[in-house]
Symmetry: C2
Subunit: 303 residues, 2 copies
């Protein structure tokens, strides 16, 4: 039985920030190979206007394909009611909403204030009825914002409570721009958990300043068991100024498995999936330390 | 007052593993600039036979230069009595010995068994007298070995005790090949500390599999306050297979400062030193996430 749960967000958070497009068929092959490696949850795309983000234009087709894969929960991002309706129509099993704690980022990202966006999420919860998909609200820029700078922790806690009370199934805290540090991670997950308990679920971390794994460790030690990550740190590169890729799935799996924490993911099969990622978007930089260095001699995955 | 103490090991551990040579004058300028940034301890070189490691051939000249820098403790590595004598003659203020817990690595690295090497360290402690330099023993391959694979924790504890009893001033635990994980770091530092108390001092960590900062965090939380690190992760690169650079000084400083832990290092001046590193060895890959991404908007160093 797995002890932590990884949601691979590369096909959404990675590809939407990549400099190149991955063809639809390559996306399908990559997603299927990650599921075959034991990843049980994949955020496959985003229901945003295709004109805004062309890389996400095929999300409905990708969702339709992915829901046919056994043992996979198919997640899609929606920025509003319209996106939610499209995600439901496509068959997404979990729909995640980005709700920025930073007013500046919220206005730039979804053209709504945090409160308006929380209202939008509430409407979707009501629209869903009893048979609808799982709904997650991710508190974006929870640890700082490139526009606003510091984001007061009180704002994050207040927003998380508002979202939990609106009836979402789970709330995530997202370090959207890679500003978080381990002390802040501990403090904020503790505070939000004290308010909303088990509705607080995932840590969505970026590796922009190299602290992704240290932050994941701190979150794990605060009781977090759900982690978003991106294969190859897709969407950012340590050699690119301002790089903002997610924490690297391969390194995250290695860290937890080497600690004796079961991820349910087979590392060798993950490496096979990585080949499909590189084949699907060959000009995009991917990184990750463990894939380059290889597993330690005599390495044993968590038993 | 600084709360953690960074020993910059790039001029030794980094340059001895680099693919290119840094000219002596460039080394001097780089070392001086790091000291000016607030780094109070620098491992400037190694007294090994120049034929074996040409990059370290100028160590005596570098030590002689570095001891003239105010507020800097000048560290040199010695692999045996002969190296120790050369280090003392050059004026090194602290001399560090690599004592591998892995028999295979010890034989390959210093042509002695761990026990023979511990004896060699004991001889140096006796040779030193009361006026001599500080002596550190670093337990190398303490978390695993590329030759031997797993290194039993009992072997590490036994060796650390033997070294402490031989009269060294401090013992470090070194993840020489980047195999460590945070759970193992906690376990082993706790066990060794229970045996030798405050003689256990530094964590020497590599970032080979990207876990360098997570391991540093775990060590810090176990009470470790001395960290070795290397500017630019020199000596390894995430794009090179088997990369084995140290944990990146810049990212380590950023992590601790952002957590509110004072390092005594000025980040902007550290960036200036990084320019001298790149200028001194322009074809060598250097990395580090924070230098590429920049500090967060509104970032405040630890007060």
């Amino acid at each position: 039985m797995r002890q932590i749960f990884i949601c691979e967000v590369g096909p959404r958070d990675g590809l939407q920030n990549a400099h190149h497009l991955m063809p639809t068929e390559a996306k399908k092959a990559w997603i299927a190979s990650m599921a075959a490696a034991g990843i049980e949850e994949i955020e496959v795309g985003s229901f945003v206007p295709p004109k805004l983000i062309p890389a996400m234009a095929d999300t409905a087709e990708i969702v339709a394909f992915a829901i046919g894969i056994p043992n996979l929960k198919v997640v899609a991002l929606a920025p509003n009611v319209r996106g939610f309706e499209r995600a439901v129509a496509a068959g997404a099993q979990k729909i995640t909403f980005p709700v920025s704690a930073s007013r500046a980022h919220s206005l730039a990202n979804v053209r709504m204030t945090p409160e308006q966006m929380a209202d939008e999420v509430r409407k979707c919860v009501e629209l869903r009825g009893k048979e609808g998909p799982q709904i997650e609200a991710g508190v974006a820029t929870a640890f700082g914002c490139t526009m606003q700078g510091e984001v007061p922790e009180d704002d994050v806690v207040r927003l998380a409570v508002m979202l939990a009370e609106s009836g979402v199934d789970c709330v995530a805290l997202a370090d959207t721009v890679g500003y978080a540090n381990p002390a802040q991670i501990r403090r904020l997950f503790k505070r939000v958990k004290a308010e909303i308990g088990d509705k607080l679920e995932a840590a969505h971390l970026h590796n922009t300043r190299g602290l992704g794994l240290a932050n994941a460790l701190a979150a794990y030690e605060e009781g977090v068991r759900h982690f978003d990550s991106s294969m190859g740190g897709l969407g950012g590169c340590p050699f690119a100024p301002g790089a903002s890729g997610n924490v690297v799935t391969e390194d995250l799996v290695f860290m937890f498995e080497s600690m004796g924490v079961r991820t349910g993911v087979d590392f060798e099969k993950l490496m096979a999936a990585r080949k499909l990622l590189v084949a699907g978007i060959p000009d995009e930089p991917v990184y990750g330390h463990t894939p380059m260095a290889g597993l330690p001699k005599g390495f044993r995955a968590a038993a």
